[in-house]
Structures are given as structure tokens and as C-alpha cells.
């Protein structure tokens, strides 16, 4: 089971089985957006802030 600690609030987060590298997850405790950067070992970092030209 892949678990990581939130970089913002240190809450323990268990990654779902079908998690992909590059996926954005939300910390259930503090609500910050986190990007999954690796699965073995599991690693996360703060997701980039939304930019003006993002989205559709």
C-alpha cells in the first residue's frame, strides 16, 4: 500500500490502487492540491498553481 505525507500539513495519505504519476490528489486534511511524482517509492509534491491560460 502506497502512503505519503502531505507536504503542507504532514497528514498521512494512502494512494488509491489506480493512481498514476502526474495525477493530482487533494489532501483530505488541509485541502491542498498535490501532484503524484512517483509510485515506487510513492512521492508527492505541491501541485503547480493554476495559470491564466489553463483549461478548456
Amino acid at each position: 500500500m502506497n502512503t505519503v505525507s502531505c507536504t503542507e500539513c504532514a497528514a498521512g495519505i494512502t494512494l488509491a490502487e489506480n493512481t498514476e504519476v502526474g495525477e493530482i490528489i487533494v489532501c483530505p486534511d488541509c485541502g491542498v492540491d498535490l501532484e503524484v511524482t512517483s509510485l515506487s517509492p510513492a512521492a508527492i509534491q505541491l501541485a503547480p498553481m493554476e495559470q491564466e491560460d489553463w483549461g478548456e
Partner: protein
Amino acid sequence: MQRRLKIGVLYSRVRVEEKWIFAALEKRGIDYDRLDDRAVHFDLENPAPWRSYDAILERSISYTSGLYALRILNAFGVTTVNTAAVADACGDKLTTSTLLAKAGLPQPRNVVAFTPESALAALEELGYPAVVKPVVGSWGRLLAKINDRDAAEAIFEHKATLGSTQHQVFYVQEFINKPGRDIRAIVIGGRVLTAMYRKSEHWITNTARGGEGELCPVTPEIESICLRSAQAMGGGVLAIDLVEHPERGYLINEVNHTMEFHTMQPLSGIDVAGEIVEYAMSVAKEKA
């Protein structure tokens, strides 16, 4: 023996749409690479690595990165979904409006000016309320509904003072008193796959802003306007946003070229990701 086709998917974030696209590629046993647009680079004198792909599906979250990547790839002779020309037509709302007007397609009235003073004069001619939109942007960001001259003066001054040069393009649109909803339809390769209403109490009905989805029947009228809009943009994989005017009927509000469909796919039961992959493969086969 026929050569196995190779697809590249250029992406930034693995949103649910990208997960579905990757799954659709894997389910079909298609040879593909995940190309993170934050990690790749282009050597303009060396197109060979990129030419190894029979098609590249562009799913960048940043319009700017996606557009420049497509321009380079198309200049390399690499087939892309969508093309740079389509991204250019759809990603800039003013360009979209210009092409729709050229094609004689119904849309809200738009006026454009390059200074706060001329924008104010144009808006007064258009009439209140009106909507000021950035020419590039999504998810309903930085849209301003202007109800009177005081608000217009304030918004234009703020844009002129605080905005980037792109915000000095004052793109003002007639406000449409729509029935608490707009319509988003997905068009892929000249077919309207499905459509949904996006309902909201707020005048911005984007689902990224809390608008709720509800299936919308694709009537012959909706089908016709969507296909004509897609054709005016250059075709490919598109999402057409329509608003319903109480007298003038359906008006085209915008066209999206790397659309999100996390609401549409489960709502419609249509495998949009699979359809995108099938389309990318058909385009790749044409080239191969």
C-alpha cells in the same frame, strides 16, 4: 506486414480525462508514449525523435505550451490532434468569433477595441449589460458582466493598468439572457457524439464553476450548428458551447480544442476517451 502505429500523448497533468485516454489506448493494445510537456524539449534542427510518432494527441493544460508544441510539430510534418491551426482558432476567443463571423454562423454580437476609451465607446454602442472576456482563458476565469458605465470604466481601467498586454485587447460581448443553462456538444471527426446542458443559477454556467450537467438531446438543429462550427474551426476533436437566445435561437459561444469531459462521459454513457483515441488512430493511419 503492416507497421505498428505509434501515438504520443502530450499532457501536463493526469486528469481523469488523461487516465481514461491512457486506459483506452492500453485497452486497444496501441503503442504509445506519455509525453509530459514539462519534461520534453524540441530541438528545431532535429525533428527525427518526433517524427517517430504517427500522430500526437495534444492534451496540454496550458494553452500556450500546447499551441507552440503543435506549431513546432506541424512544422516538423508530424500529424497532431488537433492541428496548430485548430488550436489557434479555438484557443483565442477573438479568433474564434472572427472565424464564426466569416462563416456567417450565429453568435453573440462582439465588439473589439484596443484602448479603454475606444472600448467604452464600443460598449455604449453595443448596450448594457455586456460581458468582457479575456481573449485567452478558461474555466470561467476573469469574465466580467458589466451592467453600467461606472462598472465599465472601472473594469477597463483595471485591465489596462493591471493586465498583461493581452488584456489590452478589449473583447466585449453582448450579454445573452440565457435560460439558466448553456449547451456543450462534443464533435469528433465530423460527428456530434453527445451534448449536455450546463445548468447554474449563476450567469457563468461552466461546470468548472459549479454548473451541473444534464443530458441534452442532439436535435437536427443542434447537430447542424455544431457541425458547421466545427468545420469553421478546421475540424478534429472539439467541444462546442451554445447558448439559447430567446428570439435568435442557438448562438455559438465558444469552441474548445482540448476539452475536458469528466462530466460528459459518465452522464452520456459514451466512451468519449475511446472515440478520441479512435479518431487519433484514423488520422495516424491516413498519414502512414
